[in-house]
Amino acid sequence: MGRLFSLTYPTAAVLLAIRSGHRYGFDIMDATGLPDGTVYPILRRLERRGVLSGKWEDEDLARSEQRPQRRYYQLTPVGEESMAEVLDRFPALVGLFPGAA
């Protein structure tokens, strides 16, 4: 199946970060170490292509932890499918995100 997006290094890093448990914007920025201005456009594009889905966390949970509600990103089944290629093409990156493999 043809990919819905171009698999660049930053895209792969974002996908790996999400898979290894970094699930919200600033956390993904910190985990990938990508320039700040690149992460959100990637997230938006992947979400629009159906690779990721973003969901607001439960409001009560955020309130109980005394912080603003977060928007968490997770891989869709389409995203999960493309992970094989990520792991294949960027093996060195995988090492940086234990738990992503």
Partner: protein, 891 residues
């Protein structure tokens, strides 16, 4: 949400670019992330500057995110295609595009620059927390004739009884001698009551603010440093707190350092000292310091005003043994409570709003010009557009093409306009009048960018809509069938539209030219006015003799006299004098006096006059002419011959038609001695050039009683030199040092500097109005030239026929120039009416010229007609040079 989270405004701003459907989510996500990051950063105390900067940088990237979102939407709706198409077609006509963009950049840039000033000074709130709760408390006397500030006595009373304020404070500017390493320096300070910082809601960046005991008699001698002082004197060393400074001969302990951005009302103060008030002895009627207060939660300006009025009416009850309440009742003392911002900004508001109106006009003219250009271009594209419709493009699509072009032009114009604004701001801030309040707060910020964005959109709609009004798809369909119209009725309609744009441009240009003409005449009048004193080759400087340095009155008075003698002995010195205040130096005392032969009746108000203490030789140095009698000679003064010299207006006011010589005056305090008038001098514009001359009394250098002579301890020296006065500053310093090295010379200026400062606002307004009207005139001329040229090109065939039938070249030229004249005359007539209507707004800025000065109006109108006739002359000559045979073949 946590306080002080950085970047929330930026996020709100960027969110506007995100498509409406996704905007709320987008904003919530960013705000949530930033708030949480900030909370984590600040949970462990003060975050490092690096960490804060990194977070700020990260927030900045929300702009990138928002731009991508916008681009995505534009791609989806096909708008991106439109923009691409429009950009390509604009690039095909680089000359047209360049002129349009430059015109807009000028208009938008000028507006952005002036709006930045207006925003910084007038619109944005003062930089203190809850600043709308801050008020200034002053007083008025004699039905508003006297502007009285606050007195320490009233402060003590209000502080004890007023409930409508949460806190109340006094502040007053002063200068002190700061001595370090044997060198003494005169620096600006502010004496404030301990609650000053609390009222403004500002606390020191390190150390602490004053406590109540430090503002009471016997409190510890302390001082708070400005950030600048701390950095320059202590290299930013935190251990400065606890050290001492020698201020006016007293050692004061440093207890705090204020943040860098702090300063009220401006950033001139380098140190803050506690203003000591003893409630039991504080004088009620000695007005001087200014009052500020923070309103209590449930209070308003009106409720505070009512409360203060109540207290003032009961002054007799509070101070039964003092004479002051009776005096204040006679003066009709009443409070003047106003929002603090109003008090800070003062009357400069009118000037700024007029400037904003002016550049608004320039922008309108620029837009009219671009609209004209677009109309001309649209004309040339009729067939192209008709073709697009014929092959199936919807009307909406054609309209979108027009609008996309406008948006690109406006966008490019505003980007370049920001550059223009940046440059012109740098230039104008250099020539801003030094008394412009809040000038240090002026800068390009998000609000200004928002403003620029808004006017760009406004412009795009304005000139984008003009072609739309003219062309609808039906017309274009007809045109494709009939071929491009030449000189048909449709063409005439379009000419009419363009012509009315030119008329509007001319009218607006005339209004601006009249405005700058009036300012020019005011400036000339101010410059040509005889101020009553000489200004050439006179150097002035402030010399203060503190009591701790020289305590006896003989030595203090003697210091100035000895210095005067030493200075007179220098080569190149023509005359030397000393005064409490030199003209335009803003140090005059304004208080009540008594006249022996005009005893004050019980219902009469006290006599007020400007008072100035001067040394022998001062009037001669300043070239203030004697009308009758004599000026001061050595031996005059409290300890010797008690005499005064008065100004002509004072003498004429009290002894009209008679001589004032030999009459007695004394200061309006009990137990003062009578001083005899021995001289009358010409009136001078001592306070400002615009106001009428003041009624003045010149007192000798020592006043008071023979038993207790009071010298003035702060005097301006005036030295008239044979050559360049500025070269004499070093000599002056050397001579003062030789007498006493701990006495500083401050603020050396020439009288010419003082004159320039006094005319600064007029010259500033004049320069800006002049620049604006110059641009307006240029754009107006380009407009009229463009329209006439276009008319000529459209009528080439007709002109050819006329010439072939025997019309002469002059008659053809006349015909074309006449068209230009009709447009100009229309514009001038409308402009004259509008200018007369608007000039009333300007009246407060004018001096020596009426707002409806016929000469200015006439000259401007005639010059505008002449100049625009020359602009139509060029196309007219071209028309007369048409070769009939070629013109006829051209169809």
């Amino acid at each position: 949400m946590a306080d002080g989270v950085p970047g929330l405004r930026l996020i709100a701003f960027a969110a506007r670019m995100v498509p409406a459907a996704r905007r709320a989510t987008w904003r919530k996500e960013w705000e949530g992330e930033v708030t949480w990051a900030w909370k984590r950063l600040t949970s462990a105390g003060r975050p490092s500057t690096m960490a804060v900067a990194r977070l700020r940088l990260r927030v900045l990237t929300c702009l990138i995110d928002a731009l991508w979102e916008m681009k995505e939407t534009m791609t989806m709706t096909g708008l991106l295609n439109d923009v691409r198409f429009a950009a390509r077609s604009l690039f095909r006509y680089p000359m047209f595009t360049a002129i349009a963009v430059l015109t807009l950049a000028l208009g938008i840039g000028a507006n952005t620059a002036v709006f930045t000033l207006v925003d910084g000074v007038l619109l944005s709130p003062l930089p203190y927390s809850d600043s709308e709760r801050l008020v200034s408390i002053e007083h008025l006397g004699r039905d508003g004739q006297d502007e009285l500030s606050m007195s320490t006595g009233l402060y003590a009373l209000y502080r004890e009884h007023v409930t409508a304020t949460r806190s109340l404070a006094l502040h007053t500017s002063a200068a002190v001698n700061l001595v370090s390493n044997g060198e003494s320096e005169r620096i600006a300070v502010q004496a404030v009551t301990p609650g000053f910082f609390e009222v403004l809601g500002v606390s020191p960046s390190s150390g602490r603010a004053f406590v109540d005991e430090e503002g009471a008699p016997g409190g510890e001698q302390v001082v708070i440093l400005s950030d600048g002082m701390w950095k320059s004197r202590f290299g930013g060393d935190p251990s400065a707190i606890g050290q001492s400074l020698d201020i006016n001969g007293t050692n004061r302990r440093i207890i705090g350092i204020m943040p860098e951005e702090f300063g009220y009302p401006d950033r001139t103060a380098q140190l803050w000292l506690p203003l000591v008030v003893d409630p039991t002895t504080a004088p009620l009627a000695a007005f001087g310091p200014s009052g500020i207060a923070r309103l209590a939660d449930d209070a308003s300006i009106e409720s505070l005003d009512t409360e203060l009025r109540g207290l003032i009416s009961r002054l007799m009850e509070f101070f039964p043994d003092s004479g002051a309440p009776a005096f204040l009742a006679e003066v009709g003392l009443r409070p003047l409570v106003s929002p603090l911002k109003e008090a800070v900004v003062g009357e400069v508001g009118t000037t700024l709003l007029i400037l904003l109106g002016t550049v608004g006009f320039v922008l309108l003219i620029a837009c009219a010009n671009v609209a004209n250009l677009l109309l001309v271009r649209a004309e040339g594209r009729q067939r192209e557009l008709a073709l697009r419709i014929a092959v199936g493009a919807g009307r909406a699509q054609v309209l979108r093409t027009f609008l996309s072009e406008s948006i690109i032009l406006a966008g490019a114009g505003s980007l370049l306009g920001l550059v223009v604004a940046r440059i012109s701001l740098t230039l104008t801030t250099r020539m801003l009048p030094s008394d412009l309040p809040r000038a240090h707060e002026v800068g390009l910020d998000l609000r200004v960018l928002g403003f620029t964005f808004a006017i760009a959109v406004g412009c795009a709609l304005f000139f984008g809509l003009f072609p739309l009004l003219r062309y609808n798809a039906d017309d274009l369909g007809t045109q494709l069938r009939d071929g491009a119209a030449h000189g048909a009725t449709g063409g005439r309609d379009r000419n009419r539209l363009r012509s009315s744009l030119v008329v509007v441009q001319m009218a607006l240009a005339l209004v601006l030219l009249v405005g700058s003409g009036l300012m020019l005449r005011s400036f000339q009048a101010l410059r040509a006015m005889d101020p009553g004193f000489e200004t050439e080759r006179i150097l002035t400087a402030r010399i203060t003799v503190p009591e701790v340095e020289i305590s006896s009155w003989q030595e203090a008075a003697g210091f100035y006299r000895t210095l005067g003698d030493r200075l007179r002995g220098q080569s190149g010195v023509e005359a030397v004098g000393f005064a409490q205040s030199v003209p335009l130096g803003a140090g005059l005392g304004f208080y009540s006096v008594e006249l022996e032969d005009h005893p004050r009746g019980p219902s009469e108000l006290p006599v007020f006059a400007s008072n100035n203490q001067i040394e022998v030789g001062f009037l001669e140095t300043m070239g203030i002419d004697l009308v009758e009698g004599r000026t001061f000679v050595s031996g005059d003064g409290a300890e010797g011959t008690r005499v005064v010299v008065v100004s002509k207006s004072f003498a004429d006011h009290w002894w009209p038609g008679r001589s004032a010589l030999g009459r007695n005056v004394r200061l309006g305090f009990p137990e003062e001695e009578w001083y005899q008038i021995v001289g009358v001098v010409e009136d001078t514009h001592y306070l400002s050039l615009e106001n009428d001359p003041q009624e003045m009394i010149f007192w000798p250098a020592t006043i008071g009683t023979a038993a207790n002579p009071q010298p003035t301890r702060g005097m301006d020296v005036a030295v008239r030199t044979a050559g360049d006065p500025t070269a004499f500053v070093a000599v002056l310093r050397r001579e003062v040092q030789a007498l006493n090295p701990r006495i500083p010379v401050s603020n050396p200026r020439t009288m010419d500097d003082l004159m320039s400062a006094a005319t600064a606002r007029t010259s500033f307004t004049m320069s800006l109005l002049g620049a604006a009207s110059g641009i307006a005139l240029l754009l107006g001329l380009v407009g009229i030239y463009g329209v006439i040229s276009y008319i000529v090109s459209q009528r080439t065939r007709e002109i050819g026929v006329r010439l072939a039938l025997g019309a002469t070249a002059p008659s053809v030229r006349g015909m074309i120039v006449r068209q230009g004249f009709v447009l100009t005359a229309g514009g001038v007539c409308i402009g004259l009416v509008v200018a007369a209507g608007l000039s009333r707004v300007m009246a407060s800025l004018l001096y020596g010229v009426s707002a409806t000065d016929p000469l200015t109006y006439g000259l401007v109108a005639v010059s505008l007609v002449i100049v625009s006739l020359s602009a139509s002359w060029i196309p007219a000559r071209r028309a007369a040079g048409v070769d009939p045979s070629r013109a006829l073949r051209s169809e």
